[in-house]
Symmetry: C2
Subunit: 358 residues, 2 copies
């Protein structure tokens, strides 16, 4: 088992990465403060892993609430189902919430924990690669609004993150690739050595080689923990983790949440960011090809769906990085070196949006 730390003073917490962690009752108990637990999961994950987790909660009053699976249910309305479950089961302020699922479950369970009785503790047990390498770490929780992704939420840190790599064996291929998109992101924004490793080990990852997966998760979480520790509330460098996300969120919102997986939309968005960076003269054409090649090897798209340029820009203007009415984007000064900037020609952005559609 590997242990990493997210260093946030009195809100610091560990990330555990390894096999069979769902069965390690004593490990989990360390992070439960009271005797009541509500497990939040979804209709895909619960049949596979809920019993196993519940067995590790013997001696606790453990209840569960099962949400429908998918990004389109990441709404205030379904969030309320968690509150209703907590209240119907008379769960007190000493209750801990455990998020057992992917990014949607983690975001919703974490946000519910942030709000129930104005804040109760929670634990992340991510069951997708995307959640294990990205969304479960760093305390960003949220639900979507029809007009914008992740627009309603809280910065709220978990007590720990438990990434059991065994659960990845049941992840479908499309979800695995979506997770790899966020893994590639770390290489592109700040870790070119990792990118080189990914270029050498993409087949092992896709083949679910255990050692390769553990290394990719560990290195991703190290990158994420570093950035979060330096800038918890995204006043500066944390925004770099948003590479591809302004484009990606616009695609997700335009297509209807869940039509495109988040990682797929981010893959296209990263390609768009590389393309625009090249148009600005920051990247070579060979760099853009390199990005495309790696994404394609991960079975990820690099071209987005047909959406009018006006609509894309309209949706991109609903973004947490907007400052003084200006869209700001994460772009690449070089492979492994990202910046947040509003210094791009509007014409070049139009060209990128035009060029990077199917």
């Amino acid at each position: 088992m590997i242990t990493l730390d997210v260093a946030l003073g009195d809100r610091s917490y560990p990330i555990y990465i390894g096999r069979s962690l769902l069965g390690k009752a004593a490990l989990i108990h360390n992070y439960l403060s009271g005797k009541e637990v509500l497990v939040v999961s979804n209709t895909t994950v619960a049949p596979l892993y809920l019993d196993k987790l519940m067995a590790s909660l013997e001696g606790y009053r453990a209840e569960s609430v099962i949400l429908p699976d998918g990004e389109k249910y990441k709404t205030l309305e379904y969030l309320n189902d968690i509150f209703t479950a907590l209240l119907e089961k008379r769960m007190s302020r000493q209750t801990s919430i455990i998020a057992l699922g992917g990014g949607v479950v983690g975001d919703m369970a974490g946000f519910a924990a942030a709000c129930y009785q104005r804040g109760i503790p929670f634990i992340q047990v991510p069951t997708t690669l995307l959640a294990q390498v990205d969304s479960s770490v760093g305390g960003k929780t949220a639900v979507n609004h029809p007009a914008g992704k992740n627009m309603i939420g809280a910065f709220y840190q978990p007590k720990c993150v438990i990434a059991d790599t065994d659960v990845l064996s049941t992840l479908d291929d499309r979800q695995l690739s979506a997770g790899i998109a966020e893994v590639i992101k770390y290489g592109l924004i700040r870790d070119e050595c990792f990118l080189l490793w990914l270029e050498e080990n993409m087949e092992a990852l896709l083949g679910r080689d255990a050692a390769a997966l553990v290394y990719a998760i560990e290195r991703s979480c190290m990158n994420k923990a570093d950035v979060v520790a330096a800038d918890e509330h995204e006043c500066g460098q944390r925004a770099l983790l948003n590479l591809g996300h302004t484009f990606g969120h616009a695609i997700e919102t335009a297509m209807g949440y869940g039509e495109w997986l988040h990682g797929e939309a981010v893959a296209v968005g990263m390609y768009m960011a590389a393309d625009l960076s090249a148009r600005l003269g920051w990247l070579e054409t060979t760099d853009v090809t390199r990005v495309a090649r790696l994404l394609e090897r991960a079975n990820l798209p690099v071209k987005g769906p047909r959406i009018s340029i006006e609509k894309m820009k309209d949706l991109m203007a609903v973004d947490k990085k907007v400052l003084d009415g200006q869209i700001r984007l994460v772009l690449l000064k070089a492979i492994g070196d990202a910046v947040v900037t509003d210094e791009f020609d509007a014409e070049l952005l139009d060209q990128t949006l035009q060029q990077c559609q199917v």
Copy 2:
């Protein structure tokens, strides 16, 4: 103008109390960080005071959203109207929210500020006595759930509180009395000198004597600020501010939110707490009569509506003070000296609930 401070380290903020503050543009501008403002108000307050506040926001991109008036609209559903307004008007993370209204508006606008884009700044401009003396100070924000009051929310401090006493001239008598209930609360839990002052000046308060109102607001806010500074997240003494609230919230929930005003339900709850304290031998019967007399002079009820004892206890079990399945209540060791305790005979609680109904 009187200035008080809520001492919370880097989250400290001032409370301004005085006349004509809505028109003091420079004062308000000091607490706006960006150039965008969303004013949240309701259908009762907006026609009276929105224009005045908007005039003080000249030079800003100021928008407004008007909620229906009343506790029954303090829900996730109407909270979403604030998010929709923010998104439709393309308000960025640099936007400040101003809550212009009573406790419901303040709670909802504050909670929306806590959640929009994971947190934007906000200012409290309370327009009821209850909001000026209590709910606008201390950073408790929330919405109700059908199963329990204030169960979904956040601790989120405003940048400042601006209590313009001129606006109390348009407050209806019932709302004025409801506010006085929370004023009396401070006297009962920790400030017997203030209680004596209230006993001498109740007629002046009801007659809206300007000096009396300002003094009552100032002294209430001093008490509140003291308690909040010592225990922001209610790990200890802040719970004392809940005197009468476990009973009161149960009445509000049972009757349907808004049927009883919060202050009215709290008045009955404080009388119940005094009654139970006397049954426990902590208060004299004369103390209980003293409490009843003062509440009645403020035109507040001391007897609750007919609700079965079982239902009352069931609703009282949905309370943030519940610990290990036990209802905990704020009771009075003496007038001016409250405690949080679960050491009361269940039989005596039943007697109190039985006795204190119409």
